[in-house]
């Protein structure tokens, strides 16, 4: 397989949202063909330029997917499948990024706050962020403020995302931010919040840096806060 071919195939499979070879993909009938996982592995084995893989294979593909979404040819499930494929690719490429001089876009920690187990939204955001080139670590659910603070201290993320579904648990977002302040870490990380009971106003009132009404908005806010 020529170098060009593999990257074209990667692009094609991102657009089709095919993570691995047993994926049907959007158009169907592609089961058995190498998916993004196999193709990235092959590309790495062939020592293709990681920058090329990312720019021409992944980013271009996501741009095309974005266009199709604008034209209402693709819907959210399609975008998510493509983002998932990119996320898988980025995970495989991660060890090689540093030596290629590629800095990850940024690191994001995500958590559902104390007392709350809801995480669909957070899980979607994870996929989208990874698909956009961020490194994402999901700390989990029902997270105590001090556990989150410890993770921020250890991982040094640029962004911290907090999620809650209940009005009774969203107060823990305030507690978490307070805990960050008390630990002297507040100015080291940008805090974005999301979830059904919260809002732009609530974000401001607790001193958060941003609010995302859904995964796409969250991504947009994080992108806008990412210093180039």
């Amino acid at each position: 397989m020529a170098k060009r071919d593999i990257i074209s195939l990667i692009r094609e499979n991102v657009i089709q949202g095919r993570v691995a070879q047993d994926d049907e993909g959007l158009d169907g009938g592609m089961v058995g063909e190498p998916g993004v996982t196999e193709l990235i592995e092959k590309a790495l084995a062939k020592r293709l330029d990681v920058r090329d893989i990312i720019n021409k294979g992944l980013t271009e593909a996501m741009n095309l997917v974005g266009q199709k979404f604008e034209q209402k040819e693709y819907y959210i499930p399609d975008m998510l499948a493509s983002a998932e494929a990119v996320g898988v690719a980025m995970k495989l490429l991660e060890p090689y990024l540093a030596q290629s001089g590629i800095k990850p876009k940024g690191k994001v920690l995500l958590a559902t706050v104390k007392g709350d187990l809801h995480d669909i939204g957070k899980n979607i955001v994870t996929i989208l962020l990874r698909g956009a080139g961020y490194t994402v670590k999901d700390l989990g659910n029902d997270m105590e403020p001090h556990s989150i603070v410890n993770a921020v201290r250890a991982e040094k993320p640029q962004f911290l995302g907090l999620s809650a579904l209940l009005t009774s648990t969203m107060v823990n977002m305030r507690d978490t931010i307070q805990a960050l302040e008390e630990s002297g870490l507040r100015d080291k990380v940008k805090v974005i919040i999301g979830g059904a009971p919260v809002s732009e106003e609530y974000a401001k009132s607790i001193g958060a840096d941003g609010y995302g009404s859904d995964g796409f908005q969250a991504l947009a806010v994080i992108e806008s806060l990412t210093s180039t």
């Binding site: 949202g17 499930p77 998510l80 499948a81 899980n123 979607i124 996929i127």
Partner: protein, 513 residues
């Protein structure tokens, strides 16, 4: 390929088999005692010649006869009445095939209103803050014209869920007379829709003209028989238990020609029928059976629909309360009676009491549309666009109705639960549960594109304000802008040559148009 309509696999039944039998027997009794009061001499003679007991009642001005119809005649008629009725169409793919024992529902427009409601959207300014402006729909009633009839046929041609067209407005132009109303009504409709067309006939003398018109369009006498592109609604009955002279005579002539027609009765519970359900059912069933019997005596095997338009009276005015719950109950009972006889049922739903589109209209219509559809009538004339009982027609309302019919039809799709589906989805379950995110979203994609997911309400807007009317209005204009297939120039020319009384302005090929 005929239209699919929607099959209702487990139709909702309101009354038990025992109750159906009881009504059937009670109706037979009613047909003997008190029997029918018939104002049509022709019908009285036909009944008499078949062995019914017919006595002349005295009345110089309006002669009438008392008719006792024996069970034997009714049973014979029920036997010979076709159990499958085909309604044809200019476009053969729009044909409707109805089997009396199959709860496959076709949705039809109708009926004939005097008033057309125009809509516009003037802007209003908030008194306390003149920078805030909103658009509010305003409805303007006026008498309907033949141009309106053309427009409504045009829109109905493009309404996805509408399977057939019953004329929606009464044309009241200055140059429409009793003598030319029918030919213009039929032409205006047939020229703007390729779906089946059903209508009442204003004057019996016009029957031959409209039949001839249909023959020209269908491609000849035999072609019309094969593909009956027109059918009739004949309200022979004036409740209680009276056969009216002019419509009964029309009914007889339509049956003689073997064209499909609806035996229709519209008793009002509380005024022209008993207020109690058992009573109105015994009566309406008797009335329809009497009509079916007459039709089969005139022409054995002629296609008929069991027509039911029962309605409840409202207590404050004794006017029709189509929006009442009882009205739906009676209609469902009639569906069951027709199914018992295996004769296709012409049923009614969606008519509401309120005069303009709005909350009340939506609730009253949706309620009866859902429950009556679920009972599985073959031919459901469900009031697309009708308001104020049957007095007003509004195109905007018709567009709104189409949206909720899409929901109803979608609801009735056959569930896909089988071993193959289960195996496939169990594989998905295993895969997804193993992933950290535990989301099934990627599997939506294929299903999404095969039409198996319902669309969100088409007039949703941004959720901040109610933009249903504005969006429906846009849609209405989109539908009006879509072209419609007129009758070809040759046939049109033939029609205008042969059929008297047609308004020249209806000829779309005429010069200067």
């Amino acid at each position: 390929m005929p239209r699919e309509g929607i099959l209702v696999p487990n139709p909702y039944v309101r009354i038990t088999d025992e109750q159906v039998q009881q009504i059937h027997r009670a109706s037979l009794q009613v047909l003997l005692d008190p029997g029918l009061i018939c104002f049509s001499k022709k019908a009285a003679e036909i009944f008499h010649s078949h062995g019914a007991e017919v006595t002349t009642a005295s009345s110089a001005d309006h002669p009438h006869w008392h008719i006792k119809i024996p069970e034997k005649l009714v049973i014979e008629a029920l036997d010979s009445a076709p159990k499958t009725v085909k309604l044809g169409a200019r476009n053969p793919d729009n044909a409707l095939i109805m089997r009396g024992d199959e709860p496959r529902v076709y949705f039809i427009s109708g009926s004939e209103t005097n008033i057309w409601l125009d809509v516009d959207f003037p802007a209003y300014v908030k008194k306390s803050d003149s920078s805030i402006e909103i658009q509010v729909p305003e409805f303007h009633p006026r008498r309907a014209t033949v141009a309106d009839l053309c427009q409504s046929a045009h829109v109905c041609e493009h309404l996805e869920t509408l399977d057939g067209y019953i004329r929606t407005v009464n044309i009241q132009d200055e140059d429409i007379t009793e003598d030319n109303k029918d030919v213009n009504k039929f032409f205006a409709s047939l020229n703007n829709t390729t779906k089946h067309f059903m209508s009442g006939l204003t004057k019996l003398e016009q029957l031959d003209n409209v039949v001839r018109m249909a023959e020209l369009i269908a491609g000849g006498k035999e072609a019309l028989k094969e593909n009956p592109i027109i059918s009739f609604i004949t309200c022979l009955v004036k409740s209680p238990l009276q056969f009216v002279e002019d419509t009964t005579d029309t009914f007889i002539e339509v049956c003689r020609r073997g064209l499909p027609t609806v035996v229709s009765s519209s008793p009002q519970a509380g005024t022209t029928a008993p207020i109690k359900e058992a009573g109105i059912m015994a009566q309406i069933n008797a009335e329809v059976l009497a009509g079916i019997t007459l039709g089969q005596m005139v022409n054995k095997g002629t296609p008929l629909l069991y027509g039911s338009v029962p309605v409840m009276a409202r207590m404050d005015t004794l006017g029709d309360s189509y929006g009442s719950v009882e009205t739906s109950q009676y209609n469902i009972d009639c569906v069951q009676m027709a199914r018992f006889y295996k004769i296709p049922n012409y049923s009614t739903s969606g008519v509401c009491d309120t005069k303009i589109p709005g909350q009340q209209a939506s609730i009253e219509r949706l309620f009866s549309d859902i429950v009556v559809t679920l009972s599985g009538p073959q031919y459901l004339h469900c009031a697309y666009g009708l308001l104020d009982c049957n007095a007003v027609f509004c195109l905007l309302q018709a567009v709104l109705d189409d949206a909720h019919f899409q929901m109803i039809k979608f609801f009735l799709k056959t569930p896909r639960i089988n071993q193959q589906e289960l195996a496939e989805t169990m594989k998905q379950i295993k895969e997804v549960v193993a992933t950290p995110q535990k989301l099934y979203i990627r599997y939506i994609r294929q299903v999404m594109r095969s039409g198996e997911i319902s669309a969100p309400y088409p007039f949703e807007g941004d959720g901040e304000s109610d933009s249903v009317f504005a969006l429906a209005y846009q849609r209405m204009n989109e539908l009006l802008a879509k072209p419609v297939e007129h009758i070809d120039p040759d046939t049109t020319a033939k029609i205008f040559r042969e059929i008297p009384g047609l308004l020249p302005r209806l000829n779309v090929y005429k010069e200067g148009k």
